[in-house]
């Protein structure tokens, strides 16, 4: 059956799906009486046309790399983790607690501690659904959805009743000390000149790149990754080979939750400098679209994250420059998920049968 070339699977089909998603989004824009061409122009110039735009595009992309990797790692173990939102929320809590706990001498020390805090909290939030799936067979999709809501309530409680400084009105933590602020692109040598002072993109971006590389190593180069992929492709065969399903599910989900939690070094420590409600802003869900588009490969995830960073930033500019609401991004996101995920067979089936027919024809000849 394997007669379709690889490029079709990794490039052609995703591209066509994306194209359909964009065309439909364009039609929606037309429907609401706006000009799609102008919308694209605004998005491109808003997201790529200035150091400010670039800075925000990369900032958002950083978030999406983390959440996209989170979804991808779990996916390789055949676990559909839609709890990235909750795990990133808890990661934020972990990072904030670390940043507020001690008078950190330097950002680098604080960063290491915050990474541990964020990853631990994120992993902890994935651990319970993972354990329930592994041991009790509770459907992980449902439990992770539930944990998103429970996580939101927990954060709400922590911010309102525990972490809110005395006398403050909004449910947010105190500002972190200056020493914990991560260097932004503006502060970095060489590339600093291309970015203005106000951009939030910070060195977390490089940690995200590192995470991509590590995930690649993990999945395709280590024993653990081998076991994760084996279990993900065939549970029965994995059991035959003595691979423990409990171990694979737990480990993959802990790594997944940890990656989602790590996102907080970008948005909480690197940008907000304090923890506010809903600091994740849906990045956990966008991770699903990013992983789907990126075919669960770190390189694909990286590219898809950049694309979504662009959409997110460009969409924000749209809201400012035109009367198209920011929600257009949500629609595009939904369509990308729909076409690259749920409607995948729509194009795949005819394309594959085309190649099968071609292969059969060759055989005859």
């Amino acid at each position: 059956m394997e007669k379709t070339p690889k490029w079709v699977d990794v490039a052609l089909i995703p591209f066509l799906n994306l194209l359909i998603a964009f065309v439909i989004s364009g039609i929606v824009v037309l429907l609401i009486g706006e000009d799609p061409i102008k919308a694209i122009k605004v998005m491109v110039s808003g997201a790529l046309g200035s150091p400010y735009g670039w800075g925000y595009t990369l900032y958002y992309a950083t978030n999406f790399i983390f959440t996209g990797l989170a979804v991808a790692v779990a996916y390789h173990a055949s676990q559909f983790n839609i709890g990235g939102e909750g795990q990133a929320t808890l990661g934020g809590l972990g990072v904030a607690l670390v940043c507020l706990a001690l008078p950190w001498p330097h950002w680098s020390v604080a960063l290491v501690a915050a990474m541990i805090g964020g990853a631990l909290f994120g992993a902890a939030w994935a651990a319970i659904p993972a354990w329930l799936q592994a041991k009790r067979g509770s459907h992980i999709v449902i439990t992770t959805i539930m944990f998103n809501f429970i996580g939101a309530s927990l954060l709400n409680y922590m911010l309102v009743n525990v972490l809110r400084p005395r006398g403050a009105m909004d449910p947010a933590t105190a500002r972190f000390a200056r020493e914990t602020y991560l260097p932004t692109f503006h502060d970095l040598p060489v590339i600093g000149q291309f970015f203005s002072k106000s951009v939030p993109a910070n060195i977390s971006f490089f940690i995200a790149l590192l995470a991509c590389w590590l995930v690649w190593i993990l999945i395709w180069r280590t024993k653990l990754g081998f076991e994760i992929r084996a279990y993900g492709r065939s549970e029965s065969a994995a059991r035959y080979a003595g691979i423990s399903p409990v171990k694979v599910i737990m480990v993959a989900m802990l790594i997944s939750g940890g990656l989602a939690g790590l996102m907080a070094i970008n948005n909480v420590m690197g940008q907000g400098h304090r923890l506010v409600l809903n600091s994740v802003e849906g990045a956990g869900f966008i991770g699903i679209a990013v992983a789907l588009m990126g075919r669960n490969h770190p390189v694909g995830v990286f590219l898809a994250a950049i694309l979504f960073g662009f959409l997110y930033q460009g969409g924000g500019e749209l809201a400012l420059e035109t009367t198209i609401p920011r929600e257009l991004i949500t629609v595009i996101q939904a369509l990308v998920i729909l076409f690259t995920g749920a409607f995948d067979n729509m194009l795949r089936a005819p394309i594959e049968s085309f190649f099968v027919a071609r292969a059969n024809a060759r055989k005859e000849a």
């Binding site: 081998f226 080979a241 003595g242």
Partner: protein, 525 residues
């Protein structure tokens, strides 16, 4: 709609013509799944009131052909004639209206419905259930009396034994007034007693004038009950003969395309020290049914112990518990050392470290990961071996690919391309990959289940040869197969399993098919 009416008319017409027109005639049926040509230009005629057998190797296309007749698959080309009428069968509804009923190899029952609910599903009268249920209850009683088909109409399917579930399937067809009944490998899952009962039922049905198509692998069954028999090979219909005018030998030849020399050339065994000792081994499955009821056996180095038995009598569980992916109680010793049966070390990798290799019965679900490349499949289960690691963290993928390439050449895997996914190899070549992986490490004990299922004849000989070679190198081998001939020709000793127990042991030269068959049926020991 038109078809159905034409068909009604056809039914009456044939009633008048009676014996003339065949009940079923297929002309030039072809069907491909992707690049697999499952049926190639198949034609067949089945006369009314007869039992027509179809035999053929695994994957020969028998099930596919019947699924087409039943409207479950759509043929790419060809015609279907029912009782002398050209009939379109686009879906199962049309097949049912044409009087065809089918009992699939895998039953199509709703587990948590009652028997009655399953019977009426799709054949209800009117929108409300109550009248349909009442009618079906009456009808069921009548059918039960007429054909010895007793089942409790209010029992849930999941509470029924396999044999009873099969009866429900037959009742389903009869309730829909089928006069053509297709049974796909009906005895594979039955105990001998259940199989006998089934044949009595089939005989009754034939006497009532029903037409039956029986798919089976068992030549004995063909000879016993069918009137005519068709043989399929690699998607093609090779012959149709009257049962009375043929012999098992001839059928076997027709099946595989040449004279079958099932006897493997091997020297007498030179058994060495005891490798495997199993004492009072018990396994209870998820549904708390005891599948192994106290197995005792030993295998010595350099000998092959063959396990014969009807599928479902505990052979699979025996392999699973020895292979480390089912839990059990009792004692298992390898070279005198006891191994962990329930605890932390009762998994496949620990077993492999103890020198137990395992070629599983179902290579698609257990032995291979079809989406993985050949090289990944080649180390699967042994992936933690030091030889495959570059350092403490990273695996030596390039080295593994190279090693795989060599192994593929040694085992004549075609094509010898390590990066190809397993699913793109043919069944025989897939099996060779599994064998290469499990044999290459010179295990102390090799567990092999159904080593040649769905494998072509050339590969069968190759596989048999490697197994014998391994024995001669001093490995102990436990062979499980439903093919009695394979057991008889490969084994140095034969143990027969029935109902989770070993019925007894025989030496191959001191027994015959008949005795083994009786033991498999639980009759003698």
């Amino acid at each position: 709609m038109v078809d159905v009416q034409a068909n009604e008319a056809g039914r009456q017409a044939t009633a008048a013509l009676a014996t003339q027109a065949p009940a079923i005639e297929l002309k030039g049926i072809s069907k491909a799944f992707g690049t697999v040509q499952a049926n190639k230009d198949i034609s067949i005629r089945v006369m009314p009131g007869t039992i027509h057998g179809i035999i053929g190797e695994n994957g020969a296309g028998k099930s596919t052909l019947m699924s087409i007749l039943y409207g479950f698959y759509k043929a790419d080309a060809g015609e279907i004639w029912i009782k002398g009428q050209r009939t379109q069968i686009p879906d199962s509804q049309a097949a049912i209206s044409a009087g065809i009923g089918m009992v699939f190899q895998h039953f199509k029952l709703v587990q948590n419905f009652t028997v009655l609910e399953n019977i009426i599903l799709g054949a209800e009268d009117g929108a409300l259930l109550r009248p349909s249920l009442a009618k079906a209850r009456k009808e069921l009683k009548r059918l039960a009396e007429e054909y010895e088909l007793n089942v409790d109409p209010d029992e849930l399917i999941e509470e029924l034994s396999v044999g009873h579930q099969q009866r429900v399937e037959i009742l389903k067809a009869l309730y829909r007034q089928a006069d053509i009944l297709i049974l796909d490998e009906p005895t594979g899952v039955l105990t001998p007693a259940e199989a006998d009962h089934l044949f009595r039922i089939l005989d009754n049905l034939r006497k009532e004038g029903k037409t039956i198509i029986l798919i089976t692998h068992k030549l004995r069954e063909i000879m016993e009950i069918t009137d005519t028999v068709s043989v399929m090979r690699r998607g093609e219909m090779t012959a149709t003969v009257k049962t009375a005018e043929t012999s098992p030998e001839q059928l076997a030849e027709l099946m595989v395309g040449r004279k079958v020399l099932l006897n493997v050339t091997k020297t007498p065994a030179q058994p060495g020290k005891t490798v495997l000792e199993v004492e009072n081994l018990r396994v209870v499955d998820e549904d708390r049914v005891e599948r192994l009821k106290g197995i005792n056996l030993t295998i010595r180095a350099g000998e092959i112990l063959g396990i014969a038995g009807v599928a479902g009598n505990g052979q699979s569980e025996l392999l699973e518990v020895l292979g480390g992916f089912a839990k059990g109680t009792g004692t298992i010793r390898i070279n005198g050392e006891e191994i962990d049966l329930t605890g932390k070390h009762s998994d496949g990798q620990s077993r492999r470290r103890r020198g137990i290799s395992h070629v599983p019965e179902d290579r698609h679900h257990l032995g291979l990961i079809l989406d993985f490349a050949a090289w990944e499949n080649m180390i699967f289960g042994y992936h933690k071996d030091a030889a495959y690691q570059k350092n403490a963290f990273i695996m030596d993928n390039a080295g593994i690919v190279k090693h795989t390439q060599e192994a593929m050449e040694r085992f004549d895997v075609r094509p010898p391309i390590p990066t190809l996914p397993a699913k793109s190899f043919s069944g025989g070549n897939q099996q060779k990959i599994v064998l290469a992986r499990e044999i290459e490490r010179s295990p102390a004990l090799l567990l092999v289940g159904q080593p040649t299922r769905g494998v072509d004849i050339g590969a069968i000989e190759f596989i048999h040869k490697r197994i014998v070679e391994l024995r001669d190198e001093g490995a102990a081998i436990l062979l499980v197969s439903v093919e009695l001939d394979e057991i008889r020709s490969l084994s140095d000793r034969i143990a027969v399993m029935f109902d989770g127990q070993i019925m007894g042991e025989r030496l191959p030269e001191e027994t015959d098919e008949k005795e083994l068959g009786l033991m498999m049926a639980g009759v003698v020991n």
